[in-house]
């Protein structure tokens, strides 16, 4: 009994709300990868262990399982702070912004970098409740600055919008190159 108590003390640490949910999910993920190890990697014939394609994935996955198991035990042994599901709710709330981000990613090649960035920044400024005149103007200024710096000045590889094709000749060439 005393030994078990000592072991518990050894694993005890500070844990935040939601810690055990993450510990369980990560351990499950690691165990899933372990079950897939033989199917997803190859053990080559006439090849020494250090050159085996499976060697490093095996080291990584086994390490993940062992450490994730110990992390889970640590979570079990540590004092719980209430608020687990509220914390999980916080994590999931972030998916809303991931969704907006992905819409922005899809829109850029369609409507062009500048229009998509303007729409994205103005929408987000309104969505997060910061839609004052100053902030909206700042969002517009920021969008233009980003496009000018990265696309026009640094020539970063971002495709021109399909919509630019329908613009009049003079503007079209400019938009395709700089906006």
């Amino acid at each position: 009994m005393a030994r078990i108590k000592t072991l518990q003390e050894l694993f005890r640490r500070y844990r935040r709300p939601g810690d055990i949910v993450f510990a369980v999910l990560f351990l499950a993920f690691a165990l899933f990868l372990l079950t897939q190890l033989t199917g997803e990697t190859v053990w080559a014939k006439r090849t020494k262990w250090f050159a085996q394609p499976r060697f490093w994935p095996a080291v990584a996955v086994i390490g993940m399982v062992v450490f994730a198991g110990l992390h889970f035990i640590g979570s079990l042994c540590s004092e719980r702070i209430p608020g687990r599901w509220r914390e999980v709710g916080f994590w999931l709330t972030s998916l809303e912004y991931v969704f907006y981000f992905l819409i922005y990613v899809v829109l850029v090649p369609q409507i062009g970098y500048l229009p998509a960035t303007l729409a994205f920044t103005i929408f987000l400024t309104i969505r997060v409740g910061e839609a004052t005149k100053v902030n909206l103007a700042a969002a517009v200024g920021f969008s233009i600055a980003v496009v000018v710096i990265f696309r026009a000045f640094l020539q970063v590889k971002i495709p021109a919008g399909h919509i630019y094709e329908v613009l009049p000749d003079g503007i079209r060439a400019f938009a395709l190159t700089y906006l």
Binding site: F22, F67, A68, S94, V98, V156
Partner: protein
């Protein structure tokens, strides 16, 4: 002399000087804004630098890296909010000094100490260079493998109280480096028959997701936080003179910064902790620490600013990054086919010296900028945090999408963003993933090369440097176990004492 002239010519290009100016000033501004930090900025800028010459790209990133901690001291001192994580210790003594009406003195001392730490580490780098050039060629595959292994072990054990989490995340990083088509036998690993996984998981996608997108999501979802109003009046130059009175603390703290910066996986926090403890123990007024002690402020700032220069040592000499930021810089080297490591010191010494000179210039630019523009920076840090989140998310897009115009990359980065947000909320470390990914790849290649020339296991450590590294690894593990046992015993004694005092109080 020819090499020095060649380095100066390299540095004198307008693109390099412009990159240095933008990087330095941009880094100070980024560091001063709580919630951004150098990692986010470097992650966003990284793909843009691939189009530049290596010296231009690296100078830009170095500028951001080396100057962000200077800027981070401003909100730490004036509004009790560290601009970057490593400025947290600066709040202990900086903010109490502000409350006493000595804000300008605290800032001036912070700038001066940072400048001293920065210059000191570059001088160490220059002095150590001939030694490095001499030792570096003796680093073969097995030595680099052992050094990378030591880096992984150090980054795991350095996370006190989170060793298991750091271990599992480092292993996750190693796994990420193995995904896709492996280069020796051309077999697929963990691709689940998905074509988008065949080319592997790009380091930049992971870095941008874990550092930039996660931070953007955190700022967007979390409550709005308006930094407090602050203003500073008085002479900011006085700190340079005052620092002379505390030169011993500045020197020892910078030395800790250099030592800890050179060791992969350790970094600023340990350097600061050691420096602060030293400054307190040797101070004539130890009770003042935490209540506005100038030595405490100097210890914190000199130590953390000495790290960036020193962190370049393992990167340049061995090609081994010590922490996440130098890991990102490593990718700039690879993109341009400049392989950091022993060959760099032999074949491209002018490039290395140009980087040193750029670091010195960076510190001078930053000091001049800060002494003249602190008032302007105080206005910039008032940006609403949610608005800042929107800005980071918009900039993250450029970083990911410009890599190969892939929507899948963006989705993957967003996935890592959510993962990074969870880790940040749980206070779990992100750096082990990045180091696992970078060092995992290095270990795989180097072990394969090294073992091909080894007949028995003992041959692996029969060279002096390999044997030294092997002994170091064993020593680190033994010391870690001993520390855990000691801490455990101390905790039990403390709990027993508390229980005994509770019982006596109840009885009494």
């Amino acid at each position: 002399m020819d090499i020095l002239l060649s380095s100066l010519a390299m540095l004198a290009q307008w693109q390099v000087l412009l990159a240095l100016l933008i990087g330095s000033i941009g880094g100070v501004i980024i560091g001063a804004i709580p919630g951004v930090g150098a990692a986010v900025a470097i992650a966003i800028l990284l793909p843009a630098t691939f189009a530049f010459e290596p010296i231009v790209g690296l100078t830009l990133l170095l500028g951001v890296y080396g100057s962000s901690m200077y800027g981070g001291a401003i909100p730490a001192v004036l509004i009790n909010t560290p601009g970057t994580a490593v400025n947290a210790l600066t709040t202990y003594d900086g903010y109490p000094m502000t409350k006493k009406g000595q804000g300008h003195r605290a800032l001036s001392l912070a700038y001066s100490a940072s400048f001293f730490g920065g210059i000191f580490s570059i001088l160490c780098l220059i002095v150590l260079s001939p030694l490095l050039a001499m030792i570096a060629p003796h680093f073969g595959s097995r030595e680099i493998f052992l050094a990378a292994l030591m880096g992984i072990i150090l980054v795991v054990v350095a996370h006190r109280g989170q060793v298991f989490a750091a271990g599992m995340l480092a292993c996750f990083g190693i796994l990420l480096s193995t995904i896709g088509l492996e280069p020796a036998k051309y077999t697929k690993r963990f691709t689940f028959d998905q074509s988008w996984l065949t080319s592997g998981v790009d380091l930049i996608v992971v870095v941008l997701g874990l550092f930039a997108i996660s931070q953007a999501l955190l700022l967007l979802v979390d409550k709005e936080h308006h930094p407090g109003e602050a203003k500073v009046e008085g002479n900011l130059f006085a700190g340079l003179k005052e620092l002379l009175a505390f030169k011993r603390v500045a020197f020892v703290s910078s030395s800790f910064g250099v030592l800890m910066g050179m060791i992969p996986g350790v970094g600023e926090f340990t350097a600061q902790f050691l420096s602060y403890t030293y400054a307190q123990k040797t101070s004539k007024t130890p009770d003042l620490f935490g209540k506005g002690a100038p030595e405490g402020l100097i210890a914190s700032e000199a130590a953390n600013n000495a790290v960036p220069g020193a962190a370049m040592i393992p990167l340049l000499a061995l090609g081994i990054p010590g922490e996440a930021l130098t890991a990102m810089m490593l990718s700039v080297f690879y993109v341009h086919n400049v392989v950091p490591g022993p060959q760099l010191f032999q074949g491209q010494l002018d490039f290395v010296i140009a980087l040193y000179l750029a670091l010195i210039l960076l510190n001078l630019i930053v000091l001049a900028f800060l002494l003249s523009s602190t008032g302007l920076l105080l206005k910039i840090i008032q940006i609403p945090t949610r608005f800042l989140g929107m800005m980071i998310l918009t900039l993250s897009f450029v970083g990911v999408f410009s890599l190969r115009n892939s929507v899948t990359d963006c989705a993957l980065a967003a996935g890592f963003g959510v993962f990074g947000l969870v880790l940040k909320r749980l206070n779990l470390p992100i750096v082990p993933i990045i180091l696992g990914m970078v060092l995992g790849g290095i270990m795989e290649v180097k072990l394969r090369t090294a073992m091909a020339r080894v007949k028995s296991p003992l041959d692996f450590i029969d060279r002096p440097i390999a044997a030294f590294l092997f002994v170091m690894i064993l020593l680190i593990l033994v010391l870690h176990v001993r520390t855990v046992i000691r801490e455990q015993k101390a905790r039990r004694v403390r709990e027993l004492t508390e229980a005994a005092s509770d019982t006596s109080t109840q009885q009494g």
